[in-house]
Amino acid sequence: MAIDVQPRAGTLPDDADVAVRVRGLVTGFGNQIVHNGLDLDVARGEVLGLVGGSGSGKSVLMRTIIGLNPARAGHIEIFGHDALDPSPSAQRALRRQWGVLFQEGALFSGLTVAENIEVPMREFLALPEDVMAALAATRLRQVGLPADAGAKYPSELSGGMKKRAGLARALALDPALLFLDEPTAGLDPISAAAFDNLIRLLKDTLGLTLFLITHDLDTLHAICDRVAVLGEGRVLACGTIDQVRQFDHPWVQEYFSGPRGRAAAHPATGKAA
């Protein structure tokens, strides 16, 4: 099977209104190169789904964009500002604009869930306690956590609840840009569908931009405007899910045409079965 990489897959025209622009990114650990000249754009207000095999560098790409992992070469812009600018004021301004959900949740283990959600509010705003509590309750309800979860410590939560609490913290400031690393992994299908609905509501009403790493094919179909496929250190293909599905690459074909991929693409037949 011919492997032809789409020329400059993942990029948008230079004058497009982009939230994130990555150019020529090179990252690695020791001798291992993870990304080799990766280009990717995320348009303002879109939901970009990032897929790729395990270990293809999805999490590392997210960590590099948000400045947790050094880039060896390349250029990253977020809302037109240089994200690799190390000055504290530039970093703080950037951090105010984004929310991040890590693959493992990364909740602060010494704080309750409600306190975790309040951390960004305390750090960036001076809100009265009752307003913060009400906003925390709003978030808890939005992400579908049970009523008693706010007072619990992370060690007392299940894996899926940690994910949802992490999402609630990421949403705390209604960031313009949200990075989510496998948000629905570990959620039951009902909660995953509720997550899709929540993201769609936030996107429609707040114009949120989303950088979403996911393997949930239902989520890809339900909320992603574009899908980017990561492999071989760069973006192999990028476009609407139907465009990407046509792309002639063994991994992409297997991913979308396997039994799970077909079931997600034709939910009606899936239901009849």
Binding site: A134, T138, D174, D204, L206
Partner: protein, 375 residues
Amino acid sequence: MGTGIIWDAPAGGEARVALTGRWTISEVTDLADALAREAPRAPGLAIDLAGVEGLDTAGAWAINRAIQRWEQAGFGARLDGASPDIARLIAAVDGTPGAIKLRPDMGNPVVARVERIGKALVLQGRNITNFLGFLGHVLIVLGGTLIGRRRLRWHAVVHQAEAIGVNALGIIGLLLFLVGLVIAQQGAVQLRQFGAEVFTVNLIGRATTRELGILLTAIMVAGRSGSAFAAQIGSMKLNQEIDALRTIGLDPIEVLVIPRVIASSLMLLGLAFYGGLCALVAGGFYVWSELAMPPDSYITRLQEVILMSDFVIGMVKAPVFGFIIAIMGCFHGFQVTGNAESVGTRTTQAVVEAIFVVIVFDAFFAFFFSLLGYN
């Protein structure tokens, strides 16, 4: 158009409030306050959102709260000029705490205080029983290992020995060298008053081989390695690595504790010998340079003053101290639960209790051996 609120509340007529500009989380307090200005009354409230340029979840929450306040008072409240999306957002954010629980129950402060004291006591008691259980378990596994019924993990022992012993050579050598110098110098100053400077050698020889060399080495190892054991095992516990070991069928005591206990006992023996030697060398330098006693006569004098029993007593104590340090570090590591803070408190406890118990045992040994006639 700036961010603003215009109330139009004619007496008897419908109250209207028009919002303009951006209403986001930074302005949410102002918005909530301004919306609360008018008390709910007949016939109702209309909120005009036509001038709103930006609204986030926090803004929507404030508006939702105003609507609920009016509706709960029995009057109508409606949105004007809101796009369907915005109306959907406002309807979706329900911030009333209601059944949502945000804080752990505190209860009555007096009762809570008494409860805390009681809990601390019970925990302390449980700590002791847990410790005895842990000690028993370790001794059984250790016995099994010594008679060959259990596998001894040589790899782990060697690895730990390097971390506890070899890597500590520099710092312990320097520490004991300096202590040796100080003892020699202070001793010489005091003994000079009696014209007995030459007995400085007795002081150095006996103090370091039997007591100080061992004790200081043990304190250093407790700080370096006892803390490391507690933190390593504690984070493994948080990460469920201990559970993983158990489910694979490995005994965490055998895999984690026994190698540390053995390595720590053996290494403390070596380190104590080495540390004592460093102190003696330092004393030798001092008497050579200050009292003009050449090294060969220093060594001859040492041979006369250091009793073999002193040396043996020191070498008996060292592995016991090493055992105490390792067992304390590992025990507190296994007691970690829940969060990162617990790793911190347990690490502190491991070091403090290890040093305390080492000193208690040292006093016990001193008493015991002088009863046996070894003064």
